[in-house]
Amino acid sequence: MTDMSDFSELMRPSTEGDRMETCVLSGTGMHFPWLQKYLNSVLTERKKEKAFAQTTTECLSLMQQALLKHQWQQAAGYMHSYLQVLEDWDVIKRQAAPEIIWKLGSEILFYHPKSSVETFNTFADRMKNIGVMNYLKISLQHALYLLHHGMLEDASRNLHQAETWRYGDKSSSQEVLINLVQAYKGLLQYYTWSKKKMELSQLDEEDYAYNTASQSMLNHSWKTSINLCALIQIPGVWDPFVKSYVEMLDFYGDRDGAREVLTNYAYDDKFPSNPNAHVYLYNFLKKEKAPREKLISVLKILYQIVPSHKLMFEFYRLLRKSEKEEDQKLGLEVLFGVLDFAGCTRNITAWKYLAKHLRQTLAGNRLAWIQELWDSRKNWWPNFHFSFFWAKSDWKEEKTLACEKALVAGILLGKGCRYFRYISKQDHQVLKKKMKRMKKSVKKFSIVKP
């Protein structure tokens, strides 16, 4: 492997000058008339480099503009000139260049009408070998490109090459990247495995082919798990890897192993907070028919991270089933929390649950719970949920929703609120009974006394 950035070029003339000049300056407070001249010459030496630097900067910005406008041909033209930055005398610029060239160049080659997979491959192979620090990153992205084009085998070969790549100290500093490369390879193997699983499910167990197929599946899973497990030990977000790894463990009956992986993924403090980790664990435990307490404790964390998650209704139902009082209170909290989000404003289930829960809570003389939750919302919920506009549009589009909401509005804001007044004035044959009940409930339970 040839490396370019590693051979550090020695100092440039201007820096050499700078150094000498600072020596002079920092020495004494004396005045050197010749210094000005020297400084000027240093400055002009800098100026000398300017035009080249100007060219490359200007070229880069024009190339970016062309890319934004999807002018791939023009962009290729600018890239053609921009490549000279790889020969920049300025070490810093030269070392920063390969990444820029790779990113923009691969973008051009991805979209350019005249480009092909071969062109892309040649480009990627060339870029990989400019500077050690880029080899793995580019290999990985190259593999993703191949995947995008459905070339699984090439992608896999590519990943394999990257996996075996070593470069002294440099490789150890890029351990995460190597793990990632391996994990992607594992993911590809998982894909083959799961295809085989499909085939297997279509075969008869007594079939002659069944045995060989299951054997080769086993082989695959073994290789795959080795590739995957290294990466998921490292803190990070590894959703697809974890999922496929767990699926394989589960398939071969290693439930404890799978549970351990998921628990670790969800609860290890070193890992970044990741809602999916909890979702995976919850789904796994649910399938396992774990006790309700356990499920609630998992979802509690998910609730803290994403209060509007669609699992929240399931969470709510679990809480309702619980006998503990605090769980009931938490259930109310969860419903309020869901409805805080604009995306859930028209969720009829949420409103239905809330209306019912409010009634029951008040019937159970737990006004304090509601007041506690309502205090922080009373400033903005009226406009957010219970405006005249909403009343009109809800009634027009979804009458049952409007009724549920009106009930909640009535309870929380009293009979006088716009939403309740508008809905209760409406006349509807089918909903007549419902409306009557609603009015009654409001009269009975409203927390705002007239």
Binding site: T2, P13, A51, Q73, A76, L86, E87, I101, N129
Partner: protein, 588 residues
Amino acid sequence: MDLEEAKELKERCTQCAAVSWGVTDEGKYYCTSCHNVTERSKEVVDTAAIPNTKIQAISRGLKRKRKLEKGWDWYVCEGFQLILCQQVEALKTLGVGPELKNDVLHSFWKRYLQKSKQAYCKNPIRTRRRKTTALEDTPSHSDWDSEPELISDFICSSFAESEAESQPDLHTQKPFPIIKAPNSAYTCSGSLDGVEYSQRKEKGIVKMTVPRTLAFCYLSLLWQREAITLSDLLRFVEEGHIPYINTFEHFPEEMKLYGRDKLIFAIESWPIYEDIYKNTIELATFLDLPRFPDITKDCYLHPDILCMKYLMEVNLPDEMHNLTCQVVKMTGIGEADFLTFDPIAKKAKTVKYDVQAIAIIIVVLKLLFLLNDNLEWSLSDIAEKYNEKNKKDKPWFDFRKWYQVMKKSIDEKKQKWEEARAKYLWKSEKPLYLSSYNRPVVYKRREVVVNLQKQFSTLIDSTPVAEKQNPSSFQFNWTEENPNRTCFHGHSLQGILKKKGQSLTTMNSLYWLSTQKFCKSHCKHVTTYEESYFSQSYQFVISLFSFLLRIKTSSLHEEVSLIEKRIFKAKYNQSKKKPSKKKIRKVK
């Protein structure tokens, strides 16, 4: 080990100080008394490989080859000489007379070598240096220090027509140490004196640089009173008609460049008008040149002729020439004494002929249209109405129309120019490296770039890239037919001028000064140009012309102010007593 004796090596051994060398199988020298093997190797002399027999005959030093990059021995000044040769040949193909090369530039260069004590003098700089170091007698053992057999200076051999008289070097057999550590950056060079040259800091000596080669060219052009201004010369450089960037590519194959040479010969900047102008004066003073031939009325560089040229270039009516001539007369800047360059004069200063001519045109535009964002437009209204009514007559000059045409053309041109600059390929086919250690890396890098470029070049729009333009003094071409390129040359200034007695005067009787007060401190500039203080039309005119000349707007503004200073001398003196008078009545 082969016990072949090597008598050509006269250095002392580092281990035992004996002078008794043998050559090993690999061709390396080793000491026969202590068996210490050096890094030096015996070099193969292959004279048959040298193609140019003429040069070979002149310089016997060529036989000697080096280990790092086998090539000829050559001096930095020879490199510059080759650049000058390329440039002067290019000028010849542009139509400049052959005397420029054979007589003028050649003698300037000879004079330079003499003044800078590099040749044509009793005690050339290199010889002196060698003598002193030889006395020190410090044996050193890198490949780099031994320069035996250096016999002749290659000087002037490339001026083939001229007599190649070279100063024989009083060479010594003793090696002289140039550098301590071989092969490290900046301590080696392909040329013999590259390292020493870049360290040389002698008072009063103007050292050669690549930009200064252009100063040499311009000096010669000026001496010959050729029809090329400095801005033309630099534009030709930019358009690639005159070699400047990567000129070393065309050095003979056997002249190797690396290390320090890179810093001396590789250029990654466009020449800047002001810099070259300054260099020209510096150089002329250093060369102690006598007064240049007079710039008379029939010379291209005379303002009357240049004004005509630029009026045509920027599409202004020919009738304006009459006015520019008057301004030239009034200010006295058409006098030969004013125009002629005299380096020996107390304060050597040459006129920026092109900038000055443009400044005169701007002054005339201000006289006619005031350029206060008001008068020029009302005059345009009048002209437009007249032209509509009298379609058959000679049209009146309409400033607004002219602005529209010029704005469009200049914007297009500017955009193309900027694009070309952004796409300019600076790097040479023949990459330069700093040390032998660095060499494979640099070559590899070059290869990578070439390969990648090849790949992207197939993806570039297939429409052929604009052919290299033919060199021309004009950048624009105006014709009557194309409405986007309307030609205003034949338009009349009627409606802007009025009869007053026998003569014509301008309708407009106001004028404003570009600079109220000149800077008198010791800094170099006399005025500053803060765009936003000035009217839009003035800004446009300034930016248009400064783009034409590829100079900074501020330097054009300065020149305009200087012309005004000459016209309104009296007013400036008055304003010393009575400042803060924004507009003054025109004195005419």
